[in-house]
């Protein structure tokens, strides 16, 4: 978790306006606020989490990213972060479009469904994979649209979304994802971290 936060933090320039979409109880916001001189806001669907954020002195509004990002003007943030929640939306494509409208750049992290352990789980056990990053059963998972690093990579390419940085994260190590190593990273990484812009 902390490593992912560090990577995100390194992608963000100081003195910028940042929006954390689906900020949860504000751990990432707090981390970024303490690490970087930035003006950070959050939007979160759970009332309880919003209240926890308020207790931490964070500026958060209760709202649903699928509907409520519309209230932010075009390019009103320098960075918009979506940390491991893309797969939970009804329509991830609309959310990505909104992130890229509201933010000059977006940072999207995804748990990689192409990770070898996930593949092996399905192959050997024949049941929906359960891993550290994907701990829920098929019937109660909030994840509606799982994707792989390769899926997201291709998604960006076909939609002419610029991949400023594509990072694979595994075993505390970060590496770049390129066209040439895409298949390998798609197999070996637990998490994909993307800095994208339109």
């Amino acid at each position: 978790m902390k490593q992912e936060f560090n990577i995100i933090s390194n992608l963000i320039e100081k003195n910028t306006r940042v929006l954390d979409v689906g900020c949860g109880d504000g751990v990432l916001m707090e981390f970024l606020k303490n690490n970087k001189k930035i003006d950070i806001r959050g939007i979160e669907i759970s009332k309880n989490n919003v209240q926890l954020c308020v207790g931490k002195g964070l500026t958060v509004i209760e709202g649903n990213a699928e509907k409520d990002l519309t209230q932010f003007p075009d390019r009103s943030f320098d960075f918009v972060i979506l940390s491991q929640t893309l797969q939970a939306f009804l329509n991830p494509e609309i959310v990505i479009n909104e992130l890229l409208r509201v933010g000059k750049k977006a940072i999207v992290t995804i748990p990689n469904f192409g990770f070898w352990k996930v593949r092996l789980h399905l192959l050997i056990k024949g049941t929906m994979p359960i891993t550290k990053n994907l701990p829920d059963e098929w019937y109660n998972t909030p994840n509606l649209h799982m994707c792989t690093i390769k899926d997201f990579f291709n998604f960006c390419n076909t939609r002419k979304i610029k991949l400023d940085k594509a990072l694979a994260f595994h075993n505390k190590k970060t590496s770049f994802i390129k066209n040439s190593n895409l298949n390998i990273k798609n197999l070996s990484a637990e998490l994909g971290i993307f800095l994208i812009e339109k």
Binding site: V50, Q51, V54, G55, K56, T59, I61, Q71
Partner: protein, 372 residues
């Protein structure tokens, strides 16, 4: 209303031009304070009251002998901690707790003003109360807060004085009074004016009082402050001190008895003409129209940190209307937080013991103060 002459007042000698065009001067603002203003004068919180509130926000109201109207939220160690903050609250103009209103005497005729009192607006109320900052020699308030009509005053205050408060907390309110809100207020006014004792507003000079009309107005309004679920859970179809229906128009049901009680205690503490004036001020409130349809313009000059709170079961000032304020603030990149609190207690939630609300309020205020 005994002791009304003993309450704290300032007399505003600076002329105030009202929205109706009339200029008033040398008028009283009745106020109360709690806690102590610190040396830096950075801990002052101005609270605005709602329709039937007054300056007695906490402790015991010296006139009604009941707890202050926001006792759950304001007091020592409460969400708005008077051990830490200096809380000021004043009676709005048009009110009947000592500030300039229809129960005052017209010095030229020596008669009680009644409906010869000018129609006032939320803007007028806020401008009048602003004089308290001068009186206490406070350059910038730490916080302005209020629910319902108090929330409207918070919005108007920031509009009028963009950087006179560090944080602003409008609760369960709206930027523009809706048709439904106006309709309920009109029902209340018509009830008062239909009372034969109202005498075109001149009842005080004739030693009369439109008790019945004011009481019915209060009963109708009280229903709008609650939720269907809340009413059902508290009263259901329970009978009032009887085993069977009486086949009469007595208060058979507990809810009837409850509303009658609410109406009857209200007339002892509130003036019917004040009720007309204050509901009118609420109806006239439209901060969106003040800015030609663009609410964001109301806040564009302000650096104030906002936190907006609504309640799930509040159908009088629903979440959607509170969210419109959030949207207007986000559109200009203002610092705004928002939460909708889960509660079955309807619009009245902000006045009641709703722990999640009080906790959130406390957290926002204290964390904001520590950022100072």
């Amino acid at each position: 209303m005994n002791n009304i002459n003993n309450i704290k007042k300032i007399i505003v000698d600076k002329p105030l031009k009202l929205d109706c065009g009339k200029i008033i001067n040398n008028f009283p603002i009745a106020y109360e304070t709690y806690g102590t203003l610190n040396e830096k004068k950075d801990n002052a919180i101005l609270i605005f009251h709602a329709l039937t509130g007054d300056q007695f926000v906490s402790g015991v109201n010296p006139l009604t002998k009941k707890n202050g109207w926001w006792s759950y939220a304001v007091g020592p160690n409460k969400a708005i901690d008077t051990n830490k903050y200096f809380v000021i609250c004043s009676n709005v103009i048009g009110g009947c707790m000592g500030s300039y209103g229809p129960t005052d005497i017209d010095l030229t005729t020596n008669k009680i003003l009644g409906t010869t009192f000018p129609v006032v607006t939320i803007n007028d109320m806020v401008n009048a109360q602003y004089n308290l900052l001068d009186f206490f020699n406070i350059d910038q308030l730490f916080c302005v807060a209020g629910g319902s009509m108090g929330g409207m005053q918070v919005l108007q205050f920031i509009n009028n004085f963009p950087n006179k408060a560090k944080i602003a907390i409008p609760i369960a309110c709206t930027a523009s009074h809706s048709a439904q809100n106006i309709a309920f207020n009109e029902l209340g006014r018509q009830s008062i004016m239909a009372d034969a004792n109202w005498l075109n507003g001149n009842y005080s000079n004739e030693k009369s009082n439109p008790d019945k009309g004011l009481s019915v107005a209060r009963m109708a309004a009280h229903i709008t402050y609650l939720s269907k679920k809340g009413l059902q859970e508290k009263f259901g179809r329970k009978l009032q001190k009887r085993d069977n229906l009486k086949f009469s128009f007595d208060a058979d049901f507990q809810i009837e008895s409850y509303l009658r009680h609410q109406g009857s205690v209200f007339v002892d503490r509130f003036d019917a003409n004040s009720y007309l004036y204050i509901t009118r001020a609420m109806d006239y409130f439209d901060l969106i129209k003040q800015h030609d349809g663009n609410l964001s313009k109301a806040f564009i000059q302000s650096k104030t940190r906002f936190f907006i709170i609504s309640f799930t079961s509040d159908w009088l000032y629903p979440t959607s209307e509170n969210k419109d304020i959030v949207i207007a603030l986000n559109a200009i990149g203002a610092d705004v937080g928002f939460v909708e609190i889960e509660s079955d207690k309807g619009h009245d939630s902000f006045l009641l013991n709703v722990p999640e609300f009080l906790e959130t309020l406390k957290n926002f205020i204290n964390t904001s103060y520590s950022l100072n």
